[in-house]
């Protein structure tokens, strides 16, 4: 006698029962199989093959030939690619701190018991689900073009606004602002962390005479540092891989001032069909991102406070 999953007893031959036993033993594996197949086919295989391609001159329509480290040497010799790396660093170092600060600030405000707070939480989250679409490109251009909403508003106060989209000194900031505006997901994570801060700590601090600012700096921030760290790492990864903003709004211009490395990789791969060079750039980007992530993890012991460590 054997029981099936729903618990109904059925007669089974020894062979069948062996199969069922195996099935039951490996049921977990079967559940994760679809994900595993997806991972192997769509992640691991491209990951490994791109590493191989990075040592070739693979052209989409012209075959493939091994070239050793030639692509990597060309990357360091090309001013255009080095500029793209430089722009990507600038973008990441403007966007990540700004986004973290704004999302934490908004989450802090939304943590108070305000009237209609649920509506505000939803409203602030909406930009995050819009992602990078044509509608967003149209909106952003309407705001930032020479005679757009922003410059019209500035002109109302007698200020002549800059050429946001066409001046290479401002265009990167416009792209950066798009990602900062989409702070919803980071905000939700911060909000969850803020809600987990015990109220009695604030009450005790208030009795000791600590104001809101002092409470925020001495209680809130130290307690939520693990979440700050998590948001820092994920936002850093996102920023280094940013593609949508420059692709839909500036196409990398003006004068390559918004050509982030991911856009250049895309252009090399799908516009110039140079898959070998694109793979090499992607791998270099991966190495740089890994270094930054490792640095972030190593820095944890100096500023991230985990509650279990306190217990030790």
């Amino acid at each position: 006698m054997a029981k099936n999953v729903s618990g109904i007893s059925i007669e089974a031959s020894p062979g069948k029962s062996k199969i069922k036993k195996n099935l039951r033993r490996n049921i977990g594996f079967i559940y994760v199989l679809p994900w595993l197949i997806g991972f192997l086919v769509f992640r691991l295989y491209p990951f490994i093959s791109s590493f191989f391609y990075s040592f070739t001159d693979f052209q989409l329509f012209d075959g493939i030939k091994e070239v050793g480290l030639m692509n990597y040497k060309e990357i360091f010799a090309s001013p255009k690619i080095m500029k793209a790396f430089n722009v990507t660093f600038k973008y990441a170092f403007i966007t990540v701190p700004l986004k973290l600060a704004i999302s934490l600030f908004i989450a802090y405000i939304l943590n108070f018991k305000l009237k209609g707070v649920k509506l505000f939480r939803t409203a602030y989250y909406i930009p995050s689900i819009l992602g990078g679409s044509v509608a967003i490109a149209v909106l952003w251009k309407a705001v930032f073009r020479d005679d757009g909403l922003l410059n019209t508003a500035l002109a109302f106060f007698g200020v002549e606004g800059p050429q946001w989209l066409s001046d290479p000194s401002y265009a990167l900031f416009v792209i950066s602002l798009l990602r900062v505006w989409q702070f919803g997901s980071a905000m939700v994570i911060f909000l969850a962390a803020l809600k987990a801060v015990p109220n009695d700590l604030y009450e005790a601090a208030a009795i000791d005479g600590a104001g809101r600012g002092r409470q925020f700096l001495s209680i809130t921030i130290p307690i939520i540092t693990p979440v700050v760290f998590y948001n820092l790492v994920t936002q850093l990864c996102q920023a280094f891989q940013e593609f949508n903003g420059p692709y839909i709004i500036t196409q990398g211009g003006p004068r390559n001032s918004t050509t982030l490395i991911s856009l250049l990789i895309y252009n090399n791969a799908f516009k110039s069909y140079e898959m070998g060079m694109a793979s090499a750039m992607a791998w270099l980007m991966f190495i740089i991102l890994t270094v930054f992530t490792v640095i972030a993890f190593l820095s944890q012991k100096y500023w991230v406070h985990y509650s279990d460590e306190e217990a030790k």
């Binding site: 989409l60 329509f61 012209d62 490109a137 251009k141 309407a142 930032f144 073009r145 020479d146 757009g148 050429q163 946001w164 989209l165 066409s166 001046d167 290479p168 196409q251 990398g252 211009g253 003006p254 004068r255 390559n256 050509t259 250049l264 252009n267 799908f270 516009k271 110039s272 069909y273």
Partner: protein, 469 residues
């Protein structure tokens, strides 16, 4: 009961799979039969030249479909374009499916933006649709050895090739194979918003001297925001080549060799920069600051602040439609004082090709023939892809007054003026794209990042590298 239900379900599934298998086999058999039939037809054709004459007479009629087994067949057809082209093509597909009722056509269409990238990937991975509207340079880029597209000479029984001149078919012949059928020829020409010129109190320019003078007049009479013409990076590149060919009387590239020195190109760049300096065209920074995806979507064009374009004759209608009501859009003249020669080139604007991987080449050929040569298809398509190159297509359009008069006027002017050939690599991705050499040189010059000599050298180096590939 559950077991019976399971058995029944399994049986239905097995039968369905068997049926699918039967369909495939039949389709394959159908393909083989068709090839044999085609061979038979070829033999017959050789024996009987009278039959050939009859075929010529039938060039406008539906293609002979006796070779088909009439098993239901589904083919995919891809194209890019604007709304009016989509509507016309969808209507033509519907009519085609009525005429050839065993063929179902699945359309795949969209705007140009991002289209070339997705099609390049599709061709590289052998997953392209069966019939494709292609850009002329795709033949060189994707199929230099004939591996991406079928040789359409093999389907000359279905596609009435006699409707096309040999020279036009030669343009789409590479590696000894006719890889596509050209739909129309196109070239760049000036178009003016006459209403704005009237407002400025001057006639539309017919020579360079008048164009320079118009820049000054626009600035003084209409204001700093008004320009006689708007030229983006690629427009500047093409205009520069037209100018240099007019001055020096030699083609841009011959036998894969750039025919111009850096000094000569510098002269062309000087001409382009002089247009910007004389308030004839806005700077690249001004155009970028407008924040428009393309000129036809730029409010300054719609309102008439930018009063001219240098565009493909086949694309003019979208610029005309974008203008605000009450603005008159006219075709301009080539400027005879540019040089001693008639500079400029015409190229195949679009072509239809059949993917090498399609299992149904005959049906694909029927669709191409319907769109280009058959009365019913041509009447729906009109000049949506430019003025038809097909003799019968053009005849039908002319007899029934189906051509857009502006497009037709411009096309006649282009084809009677231009005299130089175009190398397909002129439109190579690494040169033409928004991060390519043309954009870098022209925007670098306009932004002041490059001197004339620097920009000329950027062009020479970039073009030579592209030609060497």
């Amino acid at each position: 009961m559950k077991r019976i239900a399971t058995l029944l379900l399994a049986l239905i599934m097995v039968l369905s799979l068997a049926a699918c298998g039967k369909d495939n086999t039949d389709a394959e058999t159908g393909g083989v039969t068709k090839k044999e039939d085609t061979a038979k037809t070829d033999d017959t054709k050789k024996e009987d030249t009278k039959k050939e004459d009859t075929k010529k007479e039938d060039a406008s009629k539906p293609a002979d479909d006796t070779a088909d087994t009439k098993e239901p067949v589904t083919i995919k057809f891809s194209w890019w374009g604007g709304d009016s082209r989509h509507e016309a093509t969808l209507a033509a597909i519907e009519k085609f499916q009525e005429t050839y009722d065993w063929i179902t056509v699945e359309p795949q269409y969209g705007a140009w933006s991002g289209w070339e990238e997705s099609m390049a990937t599709a061709f590289a991975t052998k997953t392209a649709p069966d019939v494709n509207q292609i850009n002329w340079n795709w033949i060189t880029s994707f199929s230099s050895d004939g591996s991406a597209f079928k040789d359409l000479n093999e389907y000359s029984d279905t596609i009435k090739l006699e409707n096309f001149s040999k020279s036009s078919l030669d343009l789409c012949t590479l590696a000894g194979e006719l890889q596509a059928i050209p739909v129309s020829m196109t070239g760049r020409i000036f178009y003016w918003n006459k209403t704005t010129f009237d407002k400025a109190g001057i006639a539309t320019p017919t020579n360079l001297a008048e164009l320079y003078a118009a820049g000054e007049t626009f600035k003084n009479v209409l204001g700093d925001d008004y320009y006689p013409i708007s030229l983006g990076e690629y427009d500047r590149m093409i205009l520069m080549v037209y100018y240099l060919e007019s001055v020096y009387g030699k083609a841009w590239v011959v036998d894969n060799e750039l025919q111009y020195t850096a000094e000569e190109i510098q002269k062309g760049l000087e001409f382009i920069q002089s247009l910007e300096d004389a308030h004839v065209t806005p700077s690249i920074q001004t155009i970028t600051g407008d924040g428009a995806e393309s000129l036809d979507k730029n409010p300054k064009w719609m309102e008439g602040k930018y009063a001219g374009i240098f565009e493909w004759d086949s694309s003019a209608s979208k610029f005309q439609k974008a203008l605000a009501e009450g603005q008159e859009f006219i075709v301009g003249e080539y400027m005879k004082d540019m040089g001693d020669y008639q500079g400029g080139y015409a190229k195949v604007s679009l072509a239809f090709a059949i993917s090498e991987t399609t299992p149904y080449p005959e049906e694909c050929a029927l669709l191409i023939n319907f769109l280009l040569n058959e009365d019913a298809g041509v009447e729906i398509m009109k000049s949506e892809r430019g003025i038809p190159l097909s003799k019968n297509g053009l005849e039908v359009c002319l007899n029934k007054g189906l051509l857009d008069t502006t497009v037709a006027e411009a096309n006649v002017k282009v084809l009677s003026w231009v005299s130089f050939p175009l190398d397909p690599k002129f439109e190579a991705a690494e040169l033409k794209n928004s991060d390519g050499i043309y954009f870098d040189a022209m925007s670098g010059l306009s932004y002041g990042d490059y001197s004339l000599a620097d920009a000329a050298q950027v062009l020479v180096d970039g073009i030579k590298a592209a030609l060497a590939k």
